[in-house]
Amino acid sequence: MGNVISLDSILGVGELKAPAESTPVESSGCSSSSCGSSDGPADMDPAVWDKVKNHPCYSEEAHHYFARMHVAVAPACNIQCNYCNRKYDCSNESRPGVVSEKLTPDQAIKKILAVAQDIPQLSVIGIAGPGDSLAAGAKNTFATFEHLQKKAPDLKLCLSTNGLALPDNVDRIAQYNIDHVTITINMVDPEVGAQIYPWIFHKHKRWTGLDAAKILHEHQMLGLEMLTARGILVKVNSVMIPGVNDEHLLAVNKAVKARGAFLHNIMPLISDPAHGTHFGLTGQRGPTAQELKVVQDACEGGAKLMRHCRQCRADAVGLLGEDRGDEFTADKIEAMGEIGYDDEARRTYREHVEAERSGRHASKAAAQADVQEAVGSAVDPILIAVATKGGERINEHFGHAKEFQIYEVGPQGAKFVGHRRVDQYCEGGSGDDDTLDTVLSAINDCTAVFVAKIGGCPSKSLESAGIEPVDRFAFEYIEESALAYFKDYAERLGQGSIQARAGQDAVIRTGALTAKRA
C-alpha cells in the first residue's frame, strides 16, 4: 500500500488545532483522561470504558470519530413487526432491515477486509440482519464472526436481534467474544406488543396475538438478563410509535435498566406507505422531533440514553450519518482480488484520536465554567444545529451537509441531543428552494446553525426564519463553540437585542443516506 494516510484528510478538517492552548489544565486538579464529561471514563468501570470508547454506537463521543460496518449475512427472521417489510428493497432507502445485497459469510469477510483497508476509522463490525441475526439457527452470523476473529482480531464484533432466539444463543455469543449486543424491545406489556407484532415463529409453531407478544417479551427479558450476567454490554433499541408505545417507553426504560442494559436508544418510527409496511399502509405516523425529544428527556435518569443512532441499513458502511456501501458492492470487491490484513493505519488513527480526546475533557470543562460564571442559571437552554463531517468539529459547508447534529446548550453545559437528516431522496429534480425548505423544516426548533461556510442566499433565508447562521467558529470544536455562543446569546438576550425562540417543532426525515445532496 503506497498511500500514506494524512490524518487531516481523515478528519476532514482544514487545519488540525491542538485543543485550546489557553486551557488551564492544572486547575481542574486531575489527569485529563479521568475526569470530565458524562461520557468519559470517570463514571465508568475501566473494563467497560475500554469496550465502548471506540464504538460509534455505544459512545456518543466515539461516534464522531469511528466507523461501523454492517454485513448483511442474516436474511431470515423469526417474527413479523408491523414496521418492517423485507420485501421492499430500494437502494434509496435507509432503515434497518433493508439491504441491496445479501452476502454469504465468505463474501462478508472479503468485504470487511476491503473496507478495513480503505477506512481506517473502522472499529466495529455488526450483523443486523436484514432479518434477525439469530434466526434460522444463526448459522451465517456465527460463521462470519468465527472467521473474522481469526482474520482481523482488532475489529470489535456486535450483533442486533429481536431477542426471541437470544436465550438459546447467549453461550455462543460469549464464546465468540461478541461484546456488544443490541436487542430491539418495544414493549414490556403484551397488550402493547400485540399491536406491534402480528406473529412470531417459535417452537415449530406460528403464534399470534397476546401469546406471541408474551413469549417474545419473556425471551427478551431473559436474554437481556443472561447477557448482562456474563458482562456483555447490551443496548436496547425501542421504536417510538405515537399512540401505541410512546408513553409506555418509560416503563420499558425502567425495565431494561433494572436488568442491566447499558444504553437505551429510542428511535422514531419510520413510516411511509411506499415501504409497504403494515404501519405505513395503515397511516400510522412517526413522531415529530420534539415528541421524540420529550420521551427521550423523560427517560433521562433511567437507563442511559443514546441519541445519535442513525437507524442504519443492514449493509451500512462508514461513519454514522454516512453510507459508503456503494463503493463496496460484491462485484467491486470481487475485482479487487486477494485482500490482506493490515491494521497499521487503523492503529495510527486510534492513537491520534486518543491524543485528541485527552485534551478535550479539560477544555470543555473550562468553557462550561466560563458560561456558568457569566450567565448563571436563569437562561433557558437552546438548540443549535451543527454542520460537521466528524471529529467533533464544525467542519462542513452548509450546502454540503447531509445531516445536522443537534446540540442542546445551556448553563448546565453543551450536549449532543440528536441529528436531523436533510438529504434528498427519491424525489429527483427538486430545486434549490425545496432543498432549503427541507433544511429549514428539519432544524426549525434551533436558535442557530453552526457551519464552516455558508452562502449569502441561504444565510438570508435562515435569518428570516429566525435561525442565526454562524460561521465564526469554523473548524473549531463543537461543544466549546456552542458554549461560547451561548454566553454571547445570553448577553444579547439580557440586553433585549434578541428574543428567545421557543415552542417550535421540527420534522424528522427518514430517507436514504446514500443519496447525496448536491
Binding site: 431470515a76 423485507r86 420485501k87 432479518g131 415449530h204 409453531k205
Partner: protein
Amino acid sequence: MAYKIKSAECTVCGACDAECPNMAISLKKGTYVIDPAKCTECKGQFDSPQCAAVCPADCCVPA
C-alpha cells in the same frame, strides 16, 4: 401432496430452508424451491407445515 413456493413473492430469506425437517427446500438459480419428492407437508412431524409457518411473505402454499 407437497408444498410449493410462489417465487414471485419470495424474498429469498432462507427461513423456510432452515426449518424444513426433510431438507426439501434448496436455493436454485437465485430462488428457493421445494422438491415435491421430499416434501411431506410435515405430516407426522409437526402440527403445521414449517415453511408456511415461518415464511414472512406467506408464499409457501399447497402445490
